[in-house]
Each structure stands twice: as structure tokens, then as C-alpha cells.
């Protein structure tokens, strides 16, 4: 990757469906992935619920978007992180989260990577700009 490629991070802190921020924010990530930028996405607080597998919005009568998370890696968004404490506070583990793609070589399923606050803060410090959704 060239030296001048900019690092852009997205932070997702709101839950899905209660508001549209997560859904419209996902659209931004997909668009930005088509540009020359080094993208990472970090899920914090209720944002981790956006990644919970098994969402069904039929009875609610609105569009779901869980399936889109399943192709993040296909969109070349593979730096996807989840805050460890946010997950634990919600009684969730990595296994509860959606698969975001598969490894090209091993064909193994890829799930968001669980990291702690210090690691996230260190990544934040390296960014050119950070967008919250």
C-alpha cells in the first residue's frame, strides 16, 4: 500500500434498528471501500449489537441489513474490530457475531476480531480521520 494512502476509521456505537445511523453508516463504508483509503471499522458499546447474528426485521416491517455484513470482506473491508468490554457487558462472545466473509486461501469463516480498549485507542491515534456512525 502506498505511503500516501490515508487511514480512515469508522466507529459504530449505536444499536441497529432503533435509529438509522448504523444502516446509513454501512452505506458510507461500502462506498468508501471503492476509494483509495485504508479502512477499518470498530464496533463499540451498543454498536456490537449491529453484528449479532440472527436478526429478523420482518415483524417490525423494516429492511434488515445483517446480510450486508456477511460480504464486508468481499468489499475489501477486512479490518473489522469489536471492543471486548462492550461484548462482555452484553453477555456476547465472538461466536454470537456474524461472519463477515471467508479467507481466500483457507476458506475459513472470518468474524470480527475482538480487541481491547487500549488496542482500539492505539489504532485511533494512527488515523487520518475518524467517522462515527
Amino acid at each position: 500500500m502506498a505511503e500516501d494512502i490515508k487511514k480512515i476509521m469508522f466507529t459504530v456505537r449505536k444499536g441497529p434498528h432503533g435509529t438509522i445511523y448504523v444502516y446509513e453508516g454501512l452505506e458510507v463504508k461500502l462506498i468508501m471501500a471503492a476509494y483509495d483509503a485504508d479502512i477499518s471499522v470498530v464496533f463499540i458499546d451498543d454498536g456490537v449489537y449491529a453484528l449479532k447474528a440472527g436478526q429478523n426485521t420482518k415483524e417490525l416491517g423494516i429492511k434488515g441489513f445483517e446480510a450486508t455484513y456477511g460480504v464486508l470482506v468481499d468489499y475489501e473491508i477486512s479490518k473489522v474490530f469489536v471492543d471486548k468490554k462492550s461484548l462482555e457487558d452484553r453477555g456476547l462472545t465472538q461466536d454470537d457475531l456474524v461472519v463477515i466473509g471467508e479467507d481466500e486461501e483457507t476458506e475459513e469463516e472470518i468474524r470480527p476480531k475482538v480487541v481491547d480498549a487500549d488496542e482500539i485507542a492505539a489504532m485511533m491515534a494512527e488515523q487520518h480521520n475518524i467517522l462515527c456512525f
Partner: protein
Amino acid sequence: MKIAVTIYEGPYNHEASDSAYNFIVAALAKGHEIRGIFFYHDGVYNVTKLMEPPQDDRHIANRWSELGAKGIDIVVCIAAAKRRGIVDSVLVPNVRISGLGQLTMMAIEAERMVIFGD
């Protein structure tokens, strides 16, 4: 039972509008009377005919208009609407702009008032 419903948030951005709609449909199915639906704060954005959601998504303004066609009084607060650019010329049919006196009458006359917001 006479039930009034008030909605404080705009469409799509907040779930309030969907919760209210689902609630009203269920109330009508049970034979309750909807005394009125009042849009306040950002809720006034619910009834603009200019909205054009993706084809595979619900059309929130049309849903309200259809409830209005059934005879339910749907009122948009004039003060809240003016400040936000919701005027008569952009309203879907079967919806009217009026004053807060309408909300007052609903609160007094309806046996229940249910508020959806954020």
C-alpha cells in the same frame, strides 16, 4: 376505546414512526377508535410527499396517508412544521396542518394518549 397517538421523530431516522404505525394497525384490528394522530417536533417530516425511499423499502408518508383515507384525523403542528419546512404544498393527501389546540383536544378527549419518540 378512544386512543390518540403522538409522534415526535421523523421517518426512517428513528424507529418511533414504525412503532407508532404498527401499534395503530393493531389497535384498529382490535376495533379501537384512533381519536387522532398528531405529529410534533421532527415528527412533522413524516408526511411529506417528496420522500422517495428505495423501492424495496416501506413508504412511510403513504402509510400515514392511507390511514388518513380511512377517516383518522392526522394533524401536523403548524409551528413545528413551519420552522422545519413542511408546508401544505408538500403534504400527502388526508393529512392537515393545524395548531397545538388539536393536540390539547386529543389529550382531553381520548381515553388514552400514546407517545412515540426518542
